[in-house]
Symmetry: D3
Subunit: 322 residues, 6 copies
């Protein structure tokens, strides 16, 4: 038996019955490498950790996400569908970054995503630290602010660290200030952990961001929380940003700023699946730091969350385009 014949004429992940999962180059989901211009959904790596203030290592994230994504197969077990039968998906390689120059990296990333945006492909990014979301949003911007749902232990709305405005604790403050994100269409889920300054939440709250701390999430459950989140996000274009540290460090230890008491992967999957039907204009999975992930569990979890995101996007695109 080989894998079933794909329903679509475009490139597919390597057939697991022909090329064992330990063989072949570790591209995202074992997909071919293609140009964004030729796909509907572009899987892109951003190898970067210049925005990290404590434990770095996310520069190695894309490589290990690709490596572990060999464990992911074609069809989603709940829907039974394969995203590769619905839309054209490929590994579109790594975004250029500069390992020694933070500000230059922001420019490189913005330019790269502006190029992707021109193709019309929806990017799903494997980071990289969370600062990368800022230049991605800049690159994707078509002028109007987008909605944003963020899964994260941290609000990332600090003003600055060490007098520096651009780091992985500040991207969403900058994005709001720059008009990239509409804070009234912005939701954060999974917040927790001790903070240097609780006033850091004041900016977000004042701007209109809906912050759902882990305690509220636990009390209400996935469905109630997501009903509210979907109401806030509405039908407009929406970006999805998933910081792997939203998930508990027992299931995602390989990250720079772990906080105990986090989401289970079971909850994370349920949350992502409730994004079905939204107008997702881009998504990312960030903060996987392989040097702190010797077992590969974090990257494996991250790759699976990327697949869940891909399924949501593909289903949604197929529904609209269908």
């Amino acid at each position: 038996m080989t894998d079933p014949t794909p329903a679509a004429p475009w490139p597919q992940p390597l057939d697991t019955s022909v090329t064992p999962r330990f063989a072949g180059l570790p591209t995202f989901m074992r997909l071919p490498v293609m140009d964004p211009a030729d796909v509907d959904v572009a899987l892109i790596g951003v190898p970067f950790d210049g925005g990290v203030t404590n434990r770095a290592g996310t520069r190695h994230g894309p490589r290990e996400l690709r490596n572990q994504s060999s464990l992911v197969r074609r069809h989603h077990h709940v829907t039974g569908r394969s995203p590769y039968d619905l839309v054209r998906v490929a590994d579109c390689g790594d975004c250029p970054t500069h390992p020694l120059d933070l500000m230059e990296s922001l420019r490189l990333i913005e330019a790269h995503y502006a190029g992707v945006a021109k193709t019309g492909a929806i990017p799903i990014t494997g980071g990289g630290d969370h600062l990368v979301t800022l230049p991605i949003l800049r690159g994707l911007s078509k002028g109007a602010a987008v909605g944003l749902i963020q899964f994260d232990a941290h609000s990332d709305t600090y003003d600055s660290f060490f007098g520096q405005k651009y780091n992985h604790g500040t991207p969403f403050r900058r994005a709001i200030e720059e008009g990239l994100v509409d804070p009234r269409r912005m939701v954060q889920i999974g917040l927790r952990g001790s903070v240097a300054d609780p006033a850091s939440f004041d900016f977000a709250r004042a701007a209109g961001v809906r912050m759902i701390f882990i305690e509220e999430f636990v009390a209400r459950g996935v469905d109630d929380v997501m009903d509210e989140a979907r109401a806030i996000l509405g039908d407009g274009p929406t970006y999805v940003s998933f910081d792997i540290d939203a998930i508990d460090p027992s299931q995602a230890p390989g990250t720079g700023t772990p906080e105990i008491g986090g989401l289970s992967t079971r909850e994370a999957q349920a949350l992502v699946r409730r994004l079905a039907g939204l107008d997702v204009v881009g998504a990312d999975l960030v903060e996987v730091a392989p040097p702190f992930d010797p077992s590969g569990l974090t990257a494996m979890t991250g790759a699976t969350v990327m697949f869940e995101l891909l399924c949501v996007v593909a289903d949604s695109l197929a529904a609209r385009g269908g």
Copy 2:
């Protein structure tokens, strides 16, 4: 103080107050090594990974399960009972296997378990990849199909891989085809994860197997699910097969095909305890792959699940024999 005097005159685990748990040979549960003919329940290792299609290593499973089982003590904390006071249990050594010949291994395992079956001892196996369940069922077979409850992330009812009919993704299809298992008395719990081909579930469904995916399990809970499972299994002879990958990879990372969002050990223990009173004719704990388990947590979890299975079997035997 020493461990309490056993209530039974037969061999017992080493007394932890005489031989520290770090001392002595690592037999299963620190029990003596005996012949199956002299026990009621036989703990057996099957060091084998010839059926693995991606990440191997379960050939080292029995050794590490034994090693970690030194952490398990005599009495179950819920029942207060010691299985060793109820029935005769021993480590009956490893089943022969052939590291270079899959088909010969199937023959060796079948023959070994046929020998065990003759003694009347109930085998509880520490694997080994999941393919070993097939020759075990063959060896134990008395002609009539048995019921089977399987805890697993995967259905293992594929037809073949790489054109090969015997591997760890196919044992239950073969067992049904061979009349070893009655699919109408078969339940699978914990299924999840992306699949190469969703049609793989069709065979099982068509055959009458009750597949309970993790989403249904979470929605209904242990008791509701097990009420149904027990109704399906009924009073007939039943085999219990526990694939360690049913448990979440944060608690059982050391396995070849991990899938996030799995059972917690707490749920797994509750599930196994609800097997109480069934007519268990054999059980196994498979897919522990020590090379991917540097901390030993997976083997420790596996050894504890084996103890839970042993307690269920011992209680049941005592109740019947009593």
Copy 3:
């Protein structure tokens, strides 16, 4: 931006915007080292594993708890308060121990804590194996028995091991016998795991200790269980002892006697927070064994639990002293 100006004039953790968290000496919570006489709450290490009967290593616990505590910031995310704004807290160094002489270590620890008691500072200890709680209670004793709440997989009320009365399986039996703890004001939460002798629970039960096994905890939930616990503990002076093995080994693998099916960190945090307002006279976090914790997750979890305990104590002191 720097960390906000502390509300209090006394020493504070290093400012994360001036000294990165990877820099500086790893004291508890990055606090200055001070004498207990100059603080309200004293964070103290007890590097000791002389009481361990199986897997040792807790002698290295205090160092790694300090190391990982660099990840903890000033303010609690639920209350928004910083304990350092409410009371004077410092790292008061390590208690002397003798690595080759168990009984001498008991004397050294008792003497050290008697000295701390004289200062009026409330000690929060990072152990060390659980035996250290006994000499701590002796040192802190003012004659009358105190109440005690213990989070633990084990009751630690055995009589002896290998004929030895003082080890990490016996401290609470000794404490009750010595009149240090009032067993009718004593609660144990999270008990589970196979036991060498179920009769070990009889002593505790007969003495009046309320033992809440994990199964009861799961059935009732945090609030119901803690309502009962608070009723038992009442308003009197109460000691809090948190054995890290109360938490599931997937979240706290680095300990000598792990038992699957344990508390989640989410539950543990909720439990500790429900201690708010009690008259806590001392607390400890014990059984972190770094040699079995290569990723540091256990020490990170332990350090965070110490912070949760600190917040409870600081809030309580502030409320009383206010």
Copy 4:
């Protein structure tokens, strides 16, 4: 500054000043993926461990060799030359294998290398267990026996294991029996370690193989030993087979059959460099088992040895072709 302009017009490793070494797909040496027909030297992976009798894992070897080869740069520091300036080199992908069928894998490998041989490209292989050398030799064979130099802790000239003629302890006995290798032009260096049967050496000795045990190597040194080896190998076509276990397990722990007291990497490099000028018709680096190599040191060592082999081959080709 960027990497210097290559002296040759053909594809080159990614420029480290444009694409950081942590970025991009991990091909061998960061080279493009090409067809063997378009290169002079073909770097090929053979993901296979079906021939292993104890600790498997070499199926993951090619992926990790590629991953670690990102650390290798263009120019050899002793010669100053870049092989990529001398000949056309590329990553020619993985050879097909069958994870469940040893004999079918032998056929697949032989066929693949027969195809490579037709192109005239010289293959340098990253294994895979040592059995893969047999079908490689079969595939490359042009009828006449070749010379062979083997770096290995083991002679690999057993007759069989478990009654099986094809496994990683037997390839060179088979190769001699099949007339693929001329035993009088065959040298083994680094032999050591306890043996199941010292008579296993008798076949090799009788056939005329020159076996140089580690003790003789240490007594004589690199130059003396290699002078003799070169005299034995002569000018004829020669295959080079490097088993990573030739190197000491402190420098190459990730292998299935480690033996203490091995070659240092310093010695290994010196030995390989002394192959300069030989008529090398193929080479391999085998037995890297990533599951036993958590730090990646073994794969990094293996990738560097592959680079040393590549430099020897490129220099030799350039000298002849020049």
Copy 5:
């Protein structure tokens, strides 16, 4: 092919062609478990670390030495001989120890070895920390002082630590004081590392012990040093004590007191082989601490050194008894 038929009628290691090396119980060298009275050489474990002053863990040494000894085969590759063909060897189990009582452990070990001495079997011990050598020497003593050769980074002739006379830094001072060892027939090889008190060497020097520091060893080489050592040891009864920390921490990281710049395994093997023909009355391999040896390399090295010691003893016994 199976392993060759042993030349002797007594028990042998498991045949690697019948029982794969990953199968079966991990006894020393896969030998049967027997009573010392029935063998010529008794392999014995002493699971103990009560004498450690810094990093413990050697209580787990015997188990992991046994585990890794599965990699050792029957015949020595230099001599071609199998010790099991020359003398009767078995795994004689673990010596009793008390995990909470150092002085009682000394009594238990002495008594156990006194029992072994009565049988006439020569014990080769796998420790355990180095303090165990003291009670072993006491137990083996027949009144007259023996000669002793010690491979160690440390002299272990301190007077006391923390006021305690019995710990792993003092055994040889005690042994000399007690007349168990004749200091004029005592040699130490491999000494190095910073010391708390250089005067610690004065006792040994004054007593007549020949201390060979690593610098002298490097300058002179194995043969010159061993010529002198053999002259000092002479023909009288001699005990061999091998502290694994004599070997460099890159090759033996899993020990409590590592010192860089140590013996290579190659040198260690050469040194041990030069003991050939001595009248060895006992030997040990101590200080393997598995919690600091995640890869198992140290235990594998230790098991191989035990095999080298066994070969020396067996050859010597055969020569005398022959």
Copy 6:
């Protein structure tokens, strides 16, 4: 027994017989924390990895060097002397750095060392990546160029990477260009590994730097090489820079740019000891990257090399000042 009474009245490492090595805060060598103004030799950490182009992590270097330095004792085993008896030494804390701003970090480091220079204390630094040597040299500069001996696998004389002049591949080119180092009094030992551009060596060679590749070192040996090096360095002020990657990755795996075939620790110690008597004005040990050093071996090696450097400096100071 306690450690011997120091010969000097100033602060000393904690007494190992009073405070076990696992206890107490991990300062460098367990020394007190003091101001550089009060010491002769200042041990300083520079937690920084902003100059790394591939694998980062050296920001965590100082903490782990301190942690592992607890294993180092007071007296050198060859000289018998304790540096703490000769000169005043202390842990002078960490130099300020900016985790997000490379150029600001260079300013901070320069300013800090300028301050140290004013006190007259000789700094021995634990890095940090190798770029830190540049601002250290700037801070220490008194106008005249100093001599420099560098132990390193790499020359670190590239011009730039990614168009950036300041990174860990360029410090010594900058130092020469800026007149901080006299290239005719500069020696590099241990160079090796493939290079992006062999022309990178041309700058150094043209400037007059003596580059000793590993092959030359092996051929000549420690003494011959150091005789030459000392002749080049002469009597003038000399800085010593030790990149841990000079040492072989089997003994120092935890570094960003490992190269096989390196110095053994035995050789490294011998090399450092041959610096005796030089006029050392400062020294550093850089490139320890703890995230790639799970066992701590690299940091332990680094701490020991720092001790060797300290002994050389102390002996030299004592000889001059005596």
